[in-house]
Symmetry: C2
Subunit: 369 residues, 2 copies
């Protein structure tokens, strides 16, 4: 595939990640086509889209047939739906990477196999297993669905034994995992990319704040050389173990002086949005370069960045654009509580100036984060 | 118009300028629609497009009716075609600015009225007027069509009297202008923007090299504080005289130590493409901000930039993307001799590093420029 000129990218799912991929693709001469349920999805507003279910076999085949490479905005597509597509096009990242990341238990098993620290955990399929897991691992802990969780959905925190019944009635009946709660001081993430030839690049660490399971903002680069080396080593092991092609992100907890891997995403990641203005090459462009077999771009930071997610409602655009050097990103979505509708990024030469502009902007938005 | 939220932009013409406007618009929550003859124009590949002649009254009305603001990739639309649209939408830049820039004689008259130096020139409608103009202004000189010239088209250089017949047979029969040749040391341009409220911003000077009338490359910022002040003063006068809204560019010759205005463009300009990566806010985003009544963005340069046009053929994409920090821009056009198909931009902290990367890249492309 590297011999001929790749120009058509198929993307399963047309959310904001797909939208930003398509926008990064045009200047490279890449034309994306989506598959998504909605005709007015963030992606469909900027590129052609097939409309239908994301696992519709006929539509997936049509998308694959139209594409030199098939990639993903939404990583939860089943291995069964992907399998027939491999003879029609090149699938990147590889199906095995999607499959393992779809199940928190398999993901943790991979991390463990690669000697990447994870929280103590246990599979939970029955109420009895939950009781035994709590007994063995202790409290507090978090009960999570193994599959399809995102933005804090499908999670239940257990502070004490009294919460067990509520947790079970909320989530019981599907494949679950119980994890010992991590008393973390920080949540960091690392985004990197790998090319078909095995070239890898890594972005600086990002320092992320969540509330109610939803990313509120990221500050980057997070300057801790030791943790950065550690995160790179972990990410590199995962990229190589999976013979991965494209961008992959791992979220870590900082527990004491150590990184504990929380989860991975086999795609561009919200905590990497700051790279659009904050780095020489964005995560979106590098994902496309990787899956097209093009040389990977520099991940050097251009300054100190703050990325703020717009959640549930859009801010006053005219007011925000008055902030010096603020880059505004509207995903074209209908407002809904808890929904990520857009983000903005501020880049400054000095961290202190970034911090000031960041607090001023939060205040302007009426947020405390 | 500033009270309600502008979101729909109509663009007459869907070339690369329109394409880059549409791509800059999406993150701002702006959705562009084009009018263009071709269904596969650079713009139509990235946003919806009405297909037809650019002066088709019914299509222009449809475009205007769909748009909160109407703007231009192609500035040669006639005043007569524009007039009926004013009751349907807001036209920015104003029709008067388009009209004056469509005629080299009127443009020069405006420059003169604003005390902006121009080459000595004379209107030429007949062969007799051409002879008298050559007699009065001397040789060498350039005979140009007053209207519709671009990329060196519609121009004929007269080195001596023997060239008069050839010039007249090439261009005679339409409204012409004869200009005394300027023995210039450099060609510089300045791009700036003005908001509806009269706020203005100016980009750093760009140092441009043409061959056969086509821009080959730009290096920016061109550091000459005195010329920069002079160029800003000239551009500001034009913006204010026209009550202009949007981005406007003026190309200057440097003659001795003085700027002589060559021509203006009431739109984003090829010599401003470096601002996409080279400045905090690109000329495309600032044009959109201006016409939507949003605050203008910072025009601060982020380093030293080199922009190289791809003319007639596209370079080896994979090879070029191997250059550290090179930003690649493919316009999605069919190759044709003399056609602008794309460009690339390199930004470096130091001018010397930029110069080295610039020559290396030209060499890689097999160009001497």
């Amino acid at each position: 595939m590297t011999a001929r000129r790749v120009s058509r990218i198929g993307i399963v799912g047309a959310g904001q990640l797909g939208r930003m991929l398509a926008l990064a693709g045009y200047p490279l001469g890449l034309r994306c086509c989506f598959l998504d349920r909605s005709a007015d999805s963030p992606g469909a507003q900027v590129a052609p889209s097939l409309i239908g279910e994301l696992e519709d076999g006929a539509l997936l085949e049509e998308l694959a047939a139209r594409s030199d490479v098939l990639t993903f905005d939404w990583e939860n597509i089943s291995g069964a739906a992907l399998a027939p597509l491999a003879r029609l096009t090149t699938i990147r990242p590889p199906a095995a990477a999607l499959t393992v990341s779809q199940d928190r238990l398999h993901e943790k098993a991979l991390f463990k196999r690669l000697r990447i620290p994870v929280a103590a955990h246990a599979a939970v399929d029955t109420r009895g297993q939950l009781l035994r897991a709590v007994q063995r691992l202790g409290l507090p802990g978090v009960l999570k669905t193994r599959r399809m969780g995102y933005d804090g959905k499908g999670q239940f925190t257990l502070a004490d034994r009294a919460a067990i019944d509520a947790a079970w009635s909320a989530l019981g009946g599907q494949a679950l995992i119980y994890e010992k709660f991590q008393a973390f001081s920080r949540e960091l993430s690392m985004v990197g990319a790998r090319s078909p030839g095995g070239e890898t690049v890594f972005y600086p660490l990002s320092d992320n704040r969540h509330r109610d399971g939803i990313l509120r903002h990221s500050l980057a680069p997070y300057a801790d050389a030791r943790l950065e080396r550690s995160a790179r080593r972990h990410l590199k092991r995962v990229l190589e173990a999976l013979d991965y092609v494209g961008v992959l992100a791992i979220e870590f907890f900082v527990v004491g002086r150590r990184l504990v891997a929380n989860e991975m995403a086999p795609r561009v990641h919200n905590s990497g949005h700051w790279t659009i203005e904050g780095c020489v090459t964005s995560q979106f462009e590098n994902h496309l370069r990787a899956i097209c077999g093009l040389p990977l771009g520099s991940t050097r930071a251009l300054g100190h960045a703050a990325m703020i997610n717009f959640i549930g409602e859009m801010p006053d655009r005219a007011r925000l654009l008055g902030v010096e050097g603020l880059a505004y990103h509207d995903y074209g979505k209908q407002p809904r509580a808890g929904r990520k509708l857009g983000h903005c990024t501020i880049v400054r030469k000095r961290a202190a100036d970034r911090n000031r502009a960041f607090s001023d902007t939060l205040e302007m938005m009426g947020r405390t984060d």
